[in-house]
């Protein structure tokens, strides 16, 4: 006959463990910070700061476009790892936008998080290598570098310095509506889904503002 207290003790500890693990995994839905962030943003869109980005020709663009949806990513020009994949994804996105004639509805924005090293010259070279064509695809740095930290935090981008004077960082496609709301964070490979979503939000926006 097992005493009642033993059973209760086990039940209490199991309950406590389930509660703790549920907190850790966002209700058993995410094991990583990236997965949790993507779910949070999909559930509750986040208003992003309306920062100004300047490209290598000193043209400026705002985060909030008021007409086009933006697919945002964060890079640095010396990156030889994940930014290469991002670059490839953006090239195929640019090609899709141009061939389908969506230039007035979707644009691409690559923001460098290393404004000290990524000067206009570096941005120009980087852009040329990728055949980036503004205004479809803009690669730039923030006009106000002090807003970078808050911007990265809002988008959930975490940058850590590696031992070779470079950076390790997470990468994703961030879908921002014409109103400046971050509505979805998608893996880099999901370019088709990103484009469809961006287009959908742009069309909804223009329908509301007709």
């Amino acid at each position: 006959m097992i005493p009642i207290r033993s059973v209760l003790g086990v039940i209490v500890s199991i309950t406590a463990v389930v509660f703790l693990l549920s907190l850790t995994t966002r209700g058993f839905s995410a094991l990583t910070v990236d997965a949790a962030r993507a779910l949070d943003v999909a559930a509750t869109p986040v208003r992003v700061p309306d920062v100004t980005i300047k490209d290598f020709q000193h043209h400026t663009y705002t985060m909030r476009d008021n007409q086009r949806s933006t697919i945002v990513d964060f890079v640095y020009t010396r990156c030889t790892t994940v930014c290469v994949t991002l670059g490839g994804a953006y090239q195929s996105l640019q090609h899709a936008i141009q061939s389908r004639g969506l230039e007035s509805q979707v644009r691409l924005l690559s923001i460098s998080f290393d404004p000290t090293k990524d000067t206009e010259h570096h941005l120009a070279v980087y852009g040329q290598a990728l055949h980036a064509a503004p205004p479809v695809w803009t690669i730039g740095t923030l006009a106000e570098p002090q807003s970078l930290a808050a911007l990265l935090r809002t988008f959930g981008v975490r940058v850590i310095a590696d031992k070779l004077n470079g950076f390790t960082h997470n990468a994703a496609l961030h879908i921002v509506t014409p109103d400046g709301l971050l509505v979805r964070i998608l893996p880099v490979e999901n370019t088709d889904e990103a484009l469809d979503l961006a287009l959908q939000y742009a069309q909804e926006h223009s329908a509301r503002h007709e």
């Binding site: 086990v10 500890s13 693990l21 990583t32 910070v33 850590i160």
Partner: protein, 209 residues
């Protein structure tokens, strides 16, 4: 005489436990910079400090009257310990601890608690099978996590690099293998001692009717 030795030992345990805790807390920035240090030094320091706290007399847990009836054979306590260790193996938890000092403080408390509860549950488990299960289960979980980290194709933590992750995986496997070997050795030696002790005791006098 024996009481004095006990008190002295108690003070040593307390001093050591406090030292380990302070080292873990004060050197938080250094120890959390790499996943390897975080998982194999920072966390074990805190659990170890908890274990040492549990050796200080008067024993903290035994002061709570009736506690052992809730923690029969240490099962309830070990479920908590397993749960706490599992929680801090989840990548999101590690990242949150690195980014947020308040979550890190919670981690410190939970790990100290796990050390204390683990020790008293281990003592409560008079059944050798229960102890084997407790230790074996925890070590197996750690080894599995090590294999997952070693072989994962992507970075799981936003705070740590890919090579760091891989090295941590290998280290965790080695760590659990080493602990497992030590536990087996301890078990063999302990059972050998018990057998020796039993054999060398004089046979009990026959009961008078």
């Amino acid at each position: 005489m024996r009481k004095n030795t006990q008190r002295a030992m108690s003070k040593t345990y307390l001093a050591l436990a406090l030292t380990l805790t302070c080292v873990a807390v004060l050197f938080r920035d250094v120890l959390e910079q790499r996943m390897l240090l975080h998982m194999l030094i920072h966390i074990p320091l805190l659990v170890g400090a908890g274990v040492l706290f549990a050796h200080v007399r008067p024993r903290p847990i035994s002061r709570v009257s009736g506690f052992s009836s809730w923690n029969n054979q240490g099962v309830a306590g070990w479920i908590l310990v397993t749960g706490i260790i599992t929680a801090w193996m989840i990548p999101r938890a590690l990242d949150s601890a690195v980014e947020s000092p308040s979550i890190d403080a919670l981690k410190v408390c939970l790990l100290l608690f796990a050390g204390v509860i683990g020790t008293s549950s281990w003592r409560a488990a008079s059944n050798a099978v229960a102890r084997v299960f407790f230790a074996g289960n925890t070590l197996w979980m750690t080894a599995t996590l090590g294999m997952l980290l070693r072989d994962a194709p992507t970075r799981l933590c936003t705070s740590y690099g890919a090579r760091d992750q891989q090295e941590t995986g290998v280290a965790l496997i080695a760590f659990s293998a080493a602990l497992g070997a030590a536990a087996v050795l301890y078990g063999l030696l302990y059972s050998a001692e018990t057998l020796d002790a039993c054999e060398s005791e004089p046979s009990p006098p026959p009961h008078s009717h």
